[in-house]
Symmetry: C2
Subunit: 307 residues, 2 copies
């Protein structure tokens, strides 16, 4: 499907340099937009262009004008001159050739917060959606999303769900996401909204998915085929349920779930892991990392994209 | 030491029936004292006596009169006729023969909340302390503690420490506890006060200790040599860092700790695991439990007491 649509766009090879590896910048919401702008600054740097073109997708939100103004100022402050907020209010907008051109030619694509269901309802399966994947895979563009835009990154997306202290059965509903991460599910505002229980409930129901909880003003930065790092102010929590056992099938709705042997990784900003020649190491110190993280590096950086 | 002190107490064998296995009732604080009294009721049942004698130790608190009145009413409501609150305001009180006699003859010993450091400062190493261990080991008495009384249960005790969202280095200080659990450390008011970060910080610094986080109105009930169960309203969270790696030694004070491969078990009320003939099973359903829990059952129920 991706292949077919991309042919229809009739871009020349010159427009699509294939060398660069794309980055995902998955932000837990509430990133600083006024002061140090640590996370937004890194996003701009990861476009790896002296004069990057950045497009902002506000489709998750009902407030295009207000939100695009905030990011226009933030990216302007960061020295980005080519910046454009795309107003996508309908699926027709998301299939419009001008929108597609803007996405395909962008070095950085930034999805704002709002409601991830709205975002997917507007762009899921459209030409804009295909263009985002092409830009990421073929041009090595940097794709970022904050809050709802972060949740939308994974193929299986948390649509909504009460975040209680403990994991309860049946409190989280899923929807189809953008598919930049195939074997993981993203949750945001993670520590601030006490969402470990909710994320463990997701993993209890779907032990094959790696749960990723991202704090506010914090981002998980994935380099395609290489590794990942954590930047910003907080931490990223990974919940790995592949060796877990639970009583999920035996209990009723809203009951607390018994979870045994959940593997949890807490990665503060500064943590960085890269894949090199069959082994993994800490990107800063070069020290060998815990073998359990090898698979995690694979899960996050392989980016089997939609097929 | 325990042996020597116990001889000095000159109790006859008849006073110390050795058949019963002692129970620990480790309560996360704020247990219901007025309505269903689920946790306190179980404590009374676990004395396994038709007419149990229950003593209440308020030594953790500055408010002996107020607190003992609350528990006197609660245990009275539960049909306990032989109940006594022990006023221990000094180490002399804790070495007083009458206090020792009351503890040694009690079927249930209940430690209230307050400050665990105060509790240990008053009774640590005293004759009252020795009597508690003798009653537990030799008579099979039931020993309960709530809040500070729960923290005091373990040999290594959390003295104080800020409970932030994430584990930070150097925020938790330790003290010597009562030693009813040798290879674990207890934290209470666990979910309500968001203490997972603090407990992970403890485990990061001491990976050989099993972290036990107990919610309010919830108890971990350990049967010596047999197994454990969770009762009440919430859950018990176990943090096992024995296969963990962390950057604890490389970072400064108050920095977030990177933790990789923490094994986490979440056990809601109703969970119950018993040790039988070399295997472990779920006490209700009889189903085999995850092998990771076998060791946990050993750690909790072996109760190598102070030597």
């Amino acid at each position: 499907m991706l292949q077919a649509s991309s042919q229809a766009l009739r871009l020349s090879d010159a427009d699509l340099p294939r060398s660069a590896a794309g980055h995902l910048v998955i932000i837990g919401g509430n990133e600083d937009k006024v002061h140090d702008k640590l996370v937004l600054r890194r996003f701009v740097e990861l476009t790896a262009r002296r004069e990057p073109k950045i497009v902002v997708l506000t489709a998750a939100s009902n407030y295009h004008e207000e939100i695009s103004a905030v990011y226009d100022r933030a990216f302007g402050d960061l020295g980005v001159t080519q910046r454009k907020a795309l107003a996508i209010h309908s699926r027709e907008d998301a299939n419009h050739p001008a929108v597609v051109e803007d996405i395909l030619s962008a070095d950085g694509i930034f999805m704002t917060g709002g409601d991830q269901r709205r975002l997917l309802a507007l762009i899921g399966g459209t030409a804009a959606y295909t263009a985002m994947h092409r830009a990421f895979i073929e041009r090595g563009s940097c794709v970022a999303g904050t809050s709802a835009g972060a949740s939308a990154m994974s193929a299986h997306m948390i649509a909504e769900g009460q975040g209680d202290i403990h994991p309860e059965k049946g409190v989280v509903s899923f929807a189809v996401g953008l598919g930049f991460l195939q074997r993981a599910v993203v949750d945001q505002h993670f520590s601030e909204r006490r969402r470990l229980g909710r994320l463990m409930a997701v993993v209890a129901q779907n032990p094959s998915l790696l749960g990723i909880g991202i704090d506010e003003d914090t981002a998980l930065v994935v380099e395609r085929g290489s590794g990942f790092e954590v930047i910003g102010d907080g931490a990223v929590t990974l919940v790995d349920g592949r060796q877990m056992s639970s009583n999920f099938l035996d209990i009723g709705e809203r009951e607390l779930i018994e979870l045994i042997n959940v593997r949890l990784h807490l990665l503060p900003a500064g943590a960085s892991y890269v894949h090199r020649a069959g082994t993994c190491s800490d990107a800063q110190g070069g020290r060998e990392i815990n073998p359990t993280l090898h698979e995690i590096v694979d899960i996050l950086s392989s980016n089997e994209t939609v097929s």
